[in-house]
Symmetry: C2
Subunit: 215 residues, 2 copies
């Protein structure tokens, strides 16, 4: 069964796509144009009542929330492709910890930077300098903690690549390549080496090649 992935161009969908490529799972995409408001169409809201992307359909099974979808496929195809949940229950615990850190500490300031730095360039949205400054300060604090962690282990959850690393890629790409904020990464030796490692994986290159066009 080919997995249908709704909304390929958004960052959170790219998180899912990288996971599917790493797990060697066949998929097809269903475009949802958020700039045209298609994520608020009644038909789409039947799939995802909160009106955000992504959603997957896999036969009769529907699932939303990008980090939940990643966990589902990493678990379902445990022995296929790259192992993304660690090998032991403790390793998985640490994958879960860093997935949560990504969601609650890294993502909010990174998202605010995208909204207030990148969006105004692309679609003429308004920008609030105070939000930019506060978000960057928060992100610096988070990345300093990452630097300490990544000076001791190659990846966030340990010496193995995992969902916790994948989950960071799309927004790190915006920061480094779309917003002239690359110094946030490059000023930190271990974070910089980690970014070079995870962003050079064939899975991310493939997703970028297919869906670079828009945010």
């Amino acid at each position: 069964m080919v997995v249908k992935v709704y909304g390929p161009h958004c960052a959170s969908t790219k998180r899912v796509l990288v996971c599917l490529v790493e797990k060697e799972i066949e998929f097809e995409v269903v475009p949802v144009d958020v700039f045209k408001g298609q994520h608020k169409d009644p038909e789409y809201l039947k799939l995802q009542p909160f009106g955000v992307v992504p959603v997957i359909k896999d036969g009769d099974f529907t699932l939303y929330e990008s980090r939940a979808i990643m966990r589902y496929y990493a678990e379902k195809y445990r022995s296929q492709g790259v192992e993304l949940l660690g090998r032991t229950i403790e390793e998985r615990g640490l994958v879960e910890q860093w997935l949560e850190v990504e969601a609650h500490n890294f993502h909010p300031p990174a998202y605010n930077l995208v909204i207030h730095v990148l969006f105004p360039q692309l679609v003429g949205a308004t920008s609030d300098p105070k939000v930019i400054e506060e978000s960057e300060t928060k992100l610096v604090h988070v990345l300093n903690i990452y630097e300490e962690r990544l000076s001791k282990s190659k990846y966030l959850a340990g010496d193995f690549f995992s969902l916790a690393d994948i989950s960071h890629i799309p927004f790190l790409d915006y920061i480094v390549n779309n917003m002239e904020k690359g110094y946030l990464i490059r000023d930190r030796k271990s974070v910089s080496a980690w970014w070079d490692d995870i962003s050079s994986r064939p899975s991310w290159k493939k997703v970028l090649q297919l869906y670079r066009v828009s945010i």
Copy 2:
């Protein structure tokens, strides 16, 4: 090995404690007084570099982020106590989906209400009426979607109690019992019945009895 849980009185720690009680796991608590700033002490930051509660220590293993800790114990003691992850990979997928919905849709407005309604009553913090109004509007939208979901299944992830339900309990308790906002729940028949069900479980009653004192 007895699990050490740091910071028993905060809402996010209570989430973990309910899980441990449901899984019949022995624990002891290590008080961390956030009102005295103990979560920013250098010794504590060695355990949790972001300076928030909870953290667990289980022998040599340290883990933070409440939802990650819950997942870890629900997985580690799969066959002990109440099954909290569903029985199939698809059921677990839905548990993960609703855990993510709790974290990203329910929690932010519920948290803002606590900060701007409950905290000012307790510790004299300032309150912003605009934030209260916006948060309540967001929460109404989320709870309307929950009402639709819970009119079709007994619990969020399906007809089985899970981590997704547990994760909501502490902040729902604030809303219903500490902030005179109970109408948000009581105005919705299925949400109200769900709340009565999950809040009457012995696990929550035990945690409340032990750690009701403060927020």
